[in-house]
């Protein structure tokens, strides 16, 4: 039930299918391990999604630090299906931090206050990232 959204959120933040699978899977495993500490009076989905998005942001930052380059950037893969999805492409051109707040707000339906709490950011920063992200997406689309 929670997998499609978790996987989609991870994919939209990382733009990497293998990383998204790893992140979603590890988030589920982390959730299983932490089940005994989970407050059962609260909904499970937001708790899981918060783990997913934070891990996805960590992954994109680490990837940037490692200076990783997609193999397809160097050697175009002829068999890889070409994506024609404008929204996906436009989202990919945003900074990962902006992608994350867009995904949290519009896919996972967090409020700005919940996003601020999940990402440990000031509420104003969340609002400005949302505004800038939407502006950039609007320009692209």
């Amino acid at each position: 039930m929670h997998w499609p959204r978790a996987f989609r959120a991870a994919h939209l933040v990382t733009h990497d299918a293998a990383a998204a699978e790893d992140i979603a899977q590890e988030s589920f495993l982390a959730a299983v391990r932490a089940l005994d500490r989970f407050d059962r009076s609260r909904p499970f989905g937001p708790w899981l999604h918060r783990i997913v998005v934070n891990r996805a942001i960590d992954w994109t930052r680490a990837r940037k630090l490692r200076g990783e380059v997609e193999l397809v950037d160097v050697l175009p893969a002829p068999d890889a299906p070409e994506r024609t999805d404008d929204t996906y492409a436009a989202l990919g051109r945003l900074a990962p931090e902006h992608r994350a707040v867009i995904v949290l707000r519009y896919l996972l339906e967090f409020t700005p206050g919940e996003i601020a709490d999940a990402l440990d950011l000031p509420r104003g920063t969340v609002n400005s990232r949302l505004r800038r992200g939407l502006d950039a997406l609007g320009d692209e689309l």
């Binding site: 499609p4 299918a17 299983v32 929204t87």
Partner: protein, 371 residues
């Protein structure tokens, strides 16, 4: 915007979900739930803890208890030398001086200038390696046989009372030799270490190549399975004592595979926070992990329970053969921490390098069965 985000096609979602289901359901089945006390009991416990903490801080005997705890976690209360091991068995340790056997009573014997070694299945022999030599030794240092090979690494011994084999890696690949030093042959050309024998019947060896971890029948050369994920730079491969799981450690991934190479658990370390070692607790599929995070390090059980947290760098983790104690190498403090599994008790041993005549911190190669 929401419709747009939800309408983006995410390829491979169904297959990824199936794979994740296998992994997560296995982890859920393995989970050992903590018994949750009733609400009234929780409240009573919370009150008791607060009262006890206040009493501890305010009373002078209580202050002494706190001081004792602080001292115990620090290096001051460490034993100045290893007087004895907390569990039956013998340690195998390498230092700048060579390979050492440490008996349960703390006595140490230098076997020779070897840089790696491992125990035979019943602890009667040791297989050791130096740059261009593989050697089978008795724990008292007598050499049974030697074999010259270029760049020997990862010597590993397995088998039964009557039939044993040693696997090792040299420049040609993964090789296997009988325990008596005969029938040396190349098993996997180009195969790399680390390698590990599956405990139990048969001769199944896990090794790494450039892409995957593979399990191979060393008698027939048949590939039994390969890991579902790329291996990366693997630093440790180890089977659980019942032979049903394999852990594969690289600096940023700890992955546990089940039968047929199915991924059953994994954890990624954050960038710059490498997992430096991991080991199965004997008789279980619990995994102890040593992780460095910034200026701190910790040893914890993969299910989430932290065993110890120290300042500085830890090295390897090694379980006692009975699974009751975990040895954690605390390099920064030049100490070994011996942590009792499932409890808060631990011992520390100081001056480890000096005891093994070493400038670099000695490495524990194995803690074997009692003779």
């Amino acid at each position: 915007m929401r419709r747009q985000l939800e309408s983006i096609e995410i390829p491979g979602e169904t297959e990824a979900r199936a794979r994740a289901w296998n992994v997560v359901s296995a982890a859920f089945a393995d989970r050992q739930p903590v018994e949750r006390p009733s609400r009234r009991l929780r409240l009573a416990l919370a009150v008791a803890v607060v009262v006890a903490a206040l009493a501890a801080v305010l009373s002078s005997p209580g202050q002494a208890v706190l001081d004792e705890i602080r001292e115990t976690v620090g290096i001051e209360r460490a034993q100045p030398a290893l007087f004895s091991l907390p569990s039956p068995g013998q340690l195998l340790v390498t230092s700048d001086a060579g390979l050492w056997v440490v008996q349960e009573n703390g006595s140490k014997r230098l076997l020779g200038p070897y840089r790696e070694g491992s125990w035979s299945p019943f602890g009667r022999f040791v297989v050791a390696a130096r740059e261009n030599e593989l050697a089978a030794l008795e724990p008292d240092g007598d050499v049974r046989w030697t074999l010259s090979r270029p760049g020997v690494r990862f010597p590993r011994w397995t088998g039964t009372e009557t039939d044993t084999k040693i696997a090792y890696v040299d420049r040609s690949g993964v090789r296997v030799i009988a325990g008596d030093g005969t029938s040396d042959r190349l098993l996997v050309p180009g195969g790399r270490g680390p390698i590990a024998w599956r405990p139990g019947p048969g001769f199944v060896l896990a090794y790494t190549n450039m892409k995957r971890v593979r399990a191979i029948d060393a008698t027939t050369g048949t590939l039994i399975w390969q890991s579902s994920r790329p291996a990366g730079r693997v630093t440790n491969v180890e089977w659980s004592s019942n032979g049903t799981r394999v852990l594969v450690l690289s600096p940023h991934h700890l992955r546990v595979y089940g039968a047929r190479g199915r991924l059953v658990d994994q954890e990624s370390a954050a960038e710059g926070w490498p997992d430096v070692d991991a080991a199965f607790r004997p008789g279980t599929t619990e995994v102890a992990v040593a992780r460095v995070h910034g200026s701190q390090s910790s040893a914890y059980i993969l299910s989430g329970r932290r065993l110890t947290n120290v300042t500085g760098v830890v090295g390897e983790v090694e379980w006692a053969p009975d699974g009751r104690w975990l040895l954690v190498s605390w390099e920064t403090a030049d100490q070994w921490i011996l942590a009792r599994a499932g409890g808060r008790h631990f011992r520390a041993v100081a001056n480890v390098s000096e005891q093994f005549r070493s400038r670099s911190f000695p490495r524990v190669q194995g803690w074997c069965c009692a003779p």
